[in-house]
């Protein structure tokens, strides 16, 4: 089992995580504009390098945050991780989030705690 560096919790056992495949495959801004080949590429085609690979992990049995991890697929060296996304403050014209459930609405644009 790997030791995966959760950006929020520190190194944790792989058993706490769910794998999420290759990182940085963004959902296309306008899927309807893609032809069938390009859409199939988004859906199904992933890199398979022998070497460093940016991949996604979900700390399912921990903080339930997704993170991106760089791992060498040959020797499993893990070189870094960072949070996937972050919840920014509301835009200037939107006002603060007023949801009573929101625990992250005070997050300043420079980052912060959660």
């Amino acid at each position: 089992m790997l030791l995966i560096p959760c950006p929020w919790c520190g190194p944790r056992d792989e058993r706490e995580f769910r794998y999420g495949g290759q990182a940085h495959i963004a959902y296309p801004a306008d899927p309807e504009a893609l032809d069938d080949g390009a859409w199939a590429d988004y859906l199904f085609v992933r890199d398979n390098p022998a070497g460093p690979y940016a991949e996604r992990w979900f700390h399912a049995s921990g903080c339930r945050s997704w993170c991106d991890v760089e791992r060498d697929t040959v020797d499993y060296t893990v070189t870094g991780s960072c949070p996937t996304g972050a919840h920014p403050a509301a835009g200037p014209d939107e006002g603060p989030c007023v949801s009573p459930y929101c625990v992250r609405r005070a997050v300043p644009s420079t980052g912060g705690t959660r």
Binding site: H24, L34, T77, G80, S81, G85, A86, H87, Y101
Partner: protein
């Protein structure tokens, strides 16, 4: 009589039963020692040949004597050298394979996780010194050893008191864990190790995550092969001497010792000192070390050089009675006439193999060292270091020094430099990882990369020159070992030159494998099964490699060894299972209404982790009769379902509506508080993941219901998309499934029951419309009531906090008693929904079914994107001949189709064309409302085939069925308002 106690060791204080006979024993000594002392030569028999086999070794490397423990701690198979004698112990020799004890409860098992700075594997001189040094540096240390006592290979020498005292001090020290009887069975990624601790009736499976690992795993003495080398009384020389030194047990009265290194000569001296008569000492080398030779000469024993044992000879008891010694060359070929030397102990030794499996699993390669006549590990990653005999250091004093230096170095490396906390702030969302900070990651995460350092690593020098035991003086008096793997002569019967005793595999098998074209040691292993026995080639692996190298004319490095995969020692399945058995194998989830179901005779069905009532039989009713009755009640009166297992996910936050719009197929941002809407959830490839009703709560948040058992999947899906694709949306999702109990009141009379239960709530059709959500008091409890319907009938879905679930259910049963309120279970629920053509995710879908396949285009928004929408235009998902949802009516209305039956066109039979599956039955029931059987299925181009007759094939039967519309009951939807 052969074998006895020398008197120098402890006196037997107990008895064990071996094959039914009493054997005196010293509590705590290995069973093998007791058997040797009692003169028991034959312990078990060869797996294929049935030849008698006795004790060969000591410790874990035991190729001969396997026993089954019948009590008091039953174990199917273990080496006699690793079973501790104790009062009441019953063992028997094992012929062939292990057998689980009959009528004995399974062994207990448990799991533990541990972290440490330094893990030391092995508690010989090197390991104990390493652990002690690491502790002194302030490291958290775990030290584990297979044996009951510390000391390792050096036990019985001059270091026992030091080893025991240091071990005790370690065990008492804070932040140190000293595990005896614990085998580290595997090295895994990023410093993870598995270890099996044997605790009487229980096994404890450890997972140890270590920053640094010191492998002080010692070595295994190996024999060399010759004809009839498997006879009882043929033992490893070092092991025979160890029985004398450690246990005061002399394995034989008249010994022949044959070896090819100085340590075998020292073993002969020890046997002599233990009281054995040394009949002959043979050394295959032309020249021995002078120290050992002189020591033997002082005992009146001359060493016959360039001589070895060509053959063992059996006596009347089947054990060894004589050794035939002959002059041998450097390749083990015997020349000249053999000399017959009578003996009852033939002690042989071919050298010592460093116990390297863990080192190899950590990334080391094995390289043959001629001076050591052994494979030594090299190229370990910087987080792992190998010391002592495991690295080829034979001298205990040198091993201790190596261990001490390595332990201190490992501790210093593990403790510093300080680990910086991870810093998520300075890494942008979705930013490329190349720029991400990497500082602060424990370098154990790089554990697999082999370093340029030698096997010693971190300040520990290369292997010390081969040295004799501490008893010897000065290394100039020693001679290097010789590689001797097999002794044969012109008359040798290769089929009786046993290489792997546990597999009864012989020299002839290796020759046959090579003759058949195998030229890799891995192939030869598979062809001969050498190395696949209980000890996994620990004692015979190098011998097999050596013989192969000789036969192929290759070097040892060219031949190499087989891959030592985990586990290093057998791990019982009961240990792997741990506590995850019986009721604990998986969490069992029950609803708050469970006591009522229990009291009313419900029959259960497991749905995911949930235990749900399937039906409530009355009297002698079977399921069929009960379900027809429950269905009738729901369609004509009032019935109640415990729907608490329905997944309930709250989606809240400023952008919850936008978020759900993007995920679900319909528009949900336009949903008004107090209203509900049905929605489908797809994965990006357009396949249905889940479906359910989404309600808008008065505070604007959404309550999303999911299929029972699917809440966790849907929650994961939502968190993934909200975090990874749309972090700019303020959305918060959480699972409220267990927080709410749900009583579903169903049927035309359900409104009457609701009026009684909730007098303060206007439940009239005008005030409480279909797809409305109301909050109020039901049975005196704060409740959310949804007017949704999964049956087609008027339904009030009453959600109350879980604490009140049972009370509200009971109140509903009381309130509806005079109306004949009928509890119903999942089977009736399925019949009712299938009559309406409502799908169940997991029945009608299997991850390859789109909304279009289900005929649910009406649920798809045309005005906005949703995840999976683009996929519905893909050529494969858009083609017309995909399996589509249909209704199926068996031509015989009394036949209930098997779910999963395949659908084919024409009737099968002799002469019929080879049938190709055109679909399958997804749900199938008998219906009270329809008065007949019916089913749902997926059929190729099914929507265009209504009215056609196809055949449902299950096992040997083919039933004609007519394809129909999937909605069988109340197609107008007139009944949902009561």
């Amino acid at each position: 009589m052969t074998g006895r106690r020398t008197g120098a060791g402890p006196v037997p204080d107990t008895w064990i039963l071996f094959d039914g006979g009493e054997v005196p024993a010293v509590a705590g000594e290995p069973v093998s020692a007791a058997l040797l002392a009692a003169g028991v030569r034959t312990v078990c028999r060869g797996i294929r040949t049935g030849r008698p086999r006795g004790v060969v070794g000591i410790g874990t490397g035991e190729p001969g004597a396997q026993v089954r423990t019948e009590g008091p701690d039953p174990r199917p198979m273990a080496p006699a050298t690793r079973v501790e004698a104790r009062e009441g112990l019953r063992v028997s020799g094992l012929a062939g394979y292990g057998r689980l004890p009959e009528q004995a409860p399974a062994r207990g098992g448990d799991a533990r996780w541990a972290h440490c700075d330094v893990l030391v594997v092995g508690a010989g001189p090197a390991g104990i010194a390493a652990a002690d040094a690491a502790r002194a540096e302030g490291a958290r240390v775990i030290i584990a050893d297979e044996a009951p006592e510390p000391g390792g290979d050096a036990r019985g020498g001059g270091r026992d008191a030091w080893a025991a005292a240091t071990w005790r001090a370690l065990a008492r020290a804070p932040d140190v864990r000293a595990l005896a009887r614990t085998t580290v069975t595997g090295h895994y990624d990023h410093g993870e190790h598995a270890a099996l601790e044997r605790r009487g009736r229980d096994d404890l499976l450890w997972r140890i995550r270590a920053r640094r690992t010191v492998l002080a795993t010692g070595s295994t003495e190996r024999p060399f092969a010759f004809q009839d080398d498997d006879l009882p009384g043929v033992m490893l020389a070092g092991a025979a001497a160890a029985y004398v030194r450690r246990h005061g047990v002399l394995p034989g009265e008249r010994a022949v010792v044959a070896g090819c290194h100085d340590e075998a000569l020292w073993a002969a001296a020890a046997l002599h000192d233990g009281g054995a008569r040394i009949a002959a000492v043979a050394d295959a080398r032309p020249r021995t070390g002078s120290a050992a030779r002189e020591a033997l000469r002082r005992r009146g024993v001359e060493v016959r050089t360039a001589t070895s044992v060509l053959r063992a000879e059996a006596g009347a008891d089947g054990g060894v009675a004589a050794a035939l010694l002959a002059p041998v060359g450097p390749d083990g070929a015997a020349r000249g006439e053999p000399v017959r030397v009578p003996c009852d102990l033939l002690a042989v030794s071919g050298g010592h193999d460093p116990a390297a499996p863990l080192a190899v699993q950590a990334g080391a390669r094995l390289r043959w060292s001629a001076p050591h006549a052994a494979f030594l590990p090299e190229g370990l990653p910087p987080t792992t270091v190998c010391v002592g005999a495991a690295a080829g250091t034979r001298d205990a004093g040198a091993a201790e020094e190596e261990g001490r230096a390595a332990g201190a170095a490992a501790a210093r490396a593990a403790l510093g430099p300080p680990v910086a906390p991870p810093d998520p702030v300075h890494t942008g969302p979705l930013g490329p990882l190349a720029g991400a900070p990497v500082g602060g990651l424990p370098d154990v995460m790089r554990s697999r990369g082999a370093s340029a350092q030698g096997h010693g690593g971190e300040g520990v020098g290369g292997p010390a020159a081969p040295a004799t035991p501490a008893a010897s003086s000065g290394s100039e008096a020693d001679a290097p070992a010789m590689a001797l793997f097999c002794v044969t002569g012109p008359g040798t019967d290769a089929a009786r030159v046993y290489v792997d005793l546990q597999r009864d595999a012989a020299l002839s098998d290796i020759r046959a494998a090579i003759a058949a074209g195998m030229d890799s040691i891995e192939l030869i292993k598979r062809h001969t099964t050498i190395g696949t026995g209980p000890d996994q080639g620990r004692t015979c692996g190098t011998v097999a490699s050596g013989i192969t190298a000789h036969l192929l004319g290759r070097t040892m490095d060219e031949v190499g060894g087989t891959t030592p995969r985990p586990p290093y020692a057998p791990v019982p399945f009961t240990a792997l299972a741990g506590r995850a058995r019986g009721d604990l194998i998986d969490p069992l989830r029950r609803t708050p209404m469970q006591p009522w179901h229990e009291a009313h005779g419900a029959v259960y069905e497991d749905v995911g982790q949930w235990r749900r009532a399937r039906y409530y039989p009355r009297g002698r009713e079977d399921m069929h009769a009960a379900v027809l009755r429950e269905c009738t009640a729901a369609r004509t009166g009032v019935a109640a379902l415990d729907a608490s297992t329905l997944g309930k996910i709250v989606v809240a936050g400023r952008d919850a509506g936008t978020f759900l719009d993007r995920l679900y197929t319909g528009n949900l941002s336009t949903l008004k508080p107090g209203r509900c809407r049905y929605g489908l959830l797809c994965t990006a490839d357009g396949m249905v993941l889940d479906d359910g009703v989404i309600a808008r709560l008065p505070d604007g948040a959404y309550l999303v219901s999911t299929t029972s058992g699917n809440a966790e999947t849907v929650l994961d899906h939502m968190e993934e998309w909200s975090q990874t694709e749309w972090p700019e949306l303020c959305v918060h999702v959480f699972n409220a499934t267990d927080a709410w109990a749900v009583v579903s009141l169903v049927g035309p009379r359900s409104r009457d029951v609701m009026r009684r239960l909730a007098p303060g709530m206007d439940v009239s059709q005008e005030a409480f419309r279909f797809m409305d959500l109301r909050e109020g008091e039901v049975a005196g409890v704060r409740a959310r009531v949804l007017r949704v319907s999964f049956t087609g009938e008027l339904t009030f879905e009453v959600n109350v906090p879980s604490w009140y679930g049972l009370a509200v259910w009971e109140a509903a049963m009381d309130a509806g008693a005079d109306l004949g309120i009928t509890p119903y279970g999942t089977e009736t629920m399925h019949v009712l929904r299938a009559e309406k053509g409502f799908i169940v995710v997991g029945h009608e879908t299997d991850g390859s079914v789109t909304p279009l396949d289900l005929g649910m285009d009406w649920a798809l928004s045309r005005t906005k994107d949703f995840v999976g929408k683009r996929s519905l235009r893909r050529p494969d998902t858009a083609r017309g001949d995909r399996p589509q949802l249909v209704g199926l009516l068996p031509e015989d209305p009394g036949t209930v189709l098997a779910e999963g039956a395949q659908l084919i066109g024409g009737a099968p039979g002799p002469g019929a064309p080879r049938a190709r599956s055109q679909g399958w039955v997804t749900s199938s029931y008998d219906s009270a409302a329809l008065g007949r059987s019916f089913a749902l299925g997926l059929l190729r181009s099914g929507r265009a085939r209504h009215g056609e007759v196809v055949h449902a094939v299950h096992l040997d039967t083919a039933v004609p069925v007519r394809v129909a519309d999937p909605v069988f009951y109340d197609r107008e939807g007139s009944r949902k308002d009561g």
